[in-house]
């Protein structure tokens, strides 16, 4: 069950958009959502430790993969890095890749909201993505 609010989905979408077009050099098809999580990782690991971050990300991945089949192949390795990602067996359309990525990030943000509240979650994300506007997030 994806627990993210519309506001978190909107924010997740903005984060994924910010990372789109900035693929890993080694893998041009690397999902932008993974980049988002990796960018958040050092910041969140400072607060919860690498193991803590890995645990939260694993939870987000498990919940999201119940709705997104291709994510079932993916794992979170020690230190919070992505594993099992080469290329999905079935070809995933770019639109679906983006949408499922937004769901994953939204789920991660949703978990953070459960633990530390919306205000602090936004505060933490703002520190990592200062260029993104948070003013007009969709609350509906």
């Amino acid at each position: 069950m994806i627990r993210a609010t519309p506001q978190m989905r909107d924010l997740a979408s903005r984060l994924v958009t910010a990372e789109t077009g900035k693929p890993k050099a080694s893998d041009p098809e690397y999902p932008a959502a993974f980049n988002v999580c990796e960018k958040l990782r050092p910041h969140l690991a400072t607060l919860m430790g690498n193991e803590g971050f890995r645990a939260v990300l694993s939870r987000a991945l498990t919940v999201t993969s119940a709705e997104v089949k291709w994510l079932a192949e993916v794992q979170v390795n020690v230190g919070g890095a992505w594993g099992g990602w080469d290329k999905p067996e079935a070809q995933v359309a770019p639109k679906e890749l983006r949408e499922s990525g937004v769901l994953l990030v939204a789920q991660l943000l949703g978990l953070l909201v459960v633990f530390i509240g919306e205000k602090l979650t936004l505060h933490l994300v703002r520190d990592v993505y200062p260029e993104i506007s948070f003013e007009d997030l969709n609350h509906t």
Partner: protein, 518 residues
Amino acid sequence: MKKSKAAAKTKPPTKVARESGKVVIHKMPSGVRGLDDILGGGIPEFSFNIIAGTPGCGKTTLAHQIVFANATAKRPALYFTVLGEPAMKMLRYQQQYSFFEEEKLGRAIRFVNLADVVMEKDLDAVFQEIAKQVAEVGPSLVVVDSFRTVVRKALTSTSELEMQGFVQRLAQFLTSWEATTFLVGEYAPEEVKDNPVFTIADGLVWLSQVPERNSVVRKLQIMKLRGQESVPGLHTVRISEQGLQAFSRTLGLAARKSPPERRRRLSMGIPDLDAMLGGGLLEGDSLLIAGPSGTGKSALATQFIAEGLRKGEPGIIAVFEERPNGYTERAAGFGLDLKTPQKQGQLEILYLRPLDLSVDETMQELLEAIQRVGAKRLAIDSLVGFEMALAPGFRADFRESLYRMIGALTGAGITILSTVEVEDTFTAMPFSHYAISFLTDDIIRLRYAEIDGQLRKIIVVVKMRGGNHSKDIREYVITDKGVVVIGPRQTDYARLTTGLPEHLGQREEAPPEPKAKS
């Protein structure tokens, strides 16, 4: 003995001159209500401190309060978390407190997780990591929570001497970098003796929970604080939505101003009673009104306060058995307006019936009200109600705390009237079952006496420390003007104090019947 001029010329420099070269240790506010008084002004800047205690005492909350009160973007705080409670968990719970300012996170307060270094590396690596972060950030405050975890892990592979060296090195480094440090840890009291951490620390704040009957009382003790005079002993602590709040044993009264040298006589609002008191109550006295139910103790207290208000002396009435509205209405029945002075900020009627508060907390409420209105007169109605309003576990401290408060307030020139209910016996005239007369300067005793087939009221001034007073036993009635002392001394009765007097004199005619106006 007078000193010669020559001797005066050769005398050493004055204290001020000698002291001028001393280092000034600035004190940081703790952010905890009441704690700065206990600390002797605040936390010494650049000190190396330990916050210790058993689990659940509020160590982390205290550390957070200090950090939130002092950290700024320019002089931030570094909060190192280890295994006990990761920062994320702290943030989840600490944001429930009102001192938590989300805006400070990241800029003014930076959390650093040390768990991985502690788990995987040695003490030197822990020191290097802390040193690296401190050098980067230049913090004014450093917290390691929990330091005990660092030590516990390290002791599996490190000697005690090496551990002492690590703590010494850490203390020197952090002080040199102008950081005020708090090591938070779960320690048992018996560890204080042998643990090198406590030897090196400049300050040691000990938090504990003391079970008393069905209550648990939180206590705080400054076991050590270099360079300044803290208040010794155990102080009550409460954790509420505001975080920790500390209640000094001395109630922060040590620095109050001294009473006036010449003390005035204050009117009780009853001319006959003023005369019995030798001209009135001495300013700064503590007066106890003792008597059974219905003898007019509250009426006397009300008149005492109302008279003060009439003369421009603000007052406080602390009530425990009756609600303020009822008290105000009853005063109006005597023709005394307590509503207007309340609106004008000259009077506060405090209804203190917390039931689970410590005596120090209750007294703190009183003291704050006294400060708010600049009270000169205080009525506590009654001491029995006051004690009953406290949780059972706190009652043992009641007399001691009352003694401290009354002593300090009267010392500052505030005049206190307390009422106490005593049961009338017909063989003796006890003043109070409390044995608290030692803390009162003056005692007035009210009691019933059977005279001419009526249960009448008599009043006598039993004790007046500040001077002579009337020894007369006078009959009084309560009218629509409050307590009114009537009639001269009754010479035709003996053993009035027993309540069952013996009629001695010949009565040629019946005395006028003293009773209240209808």
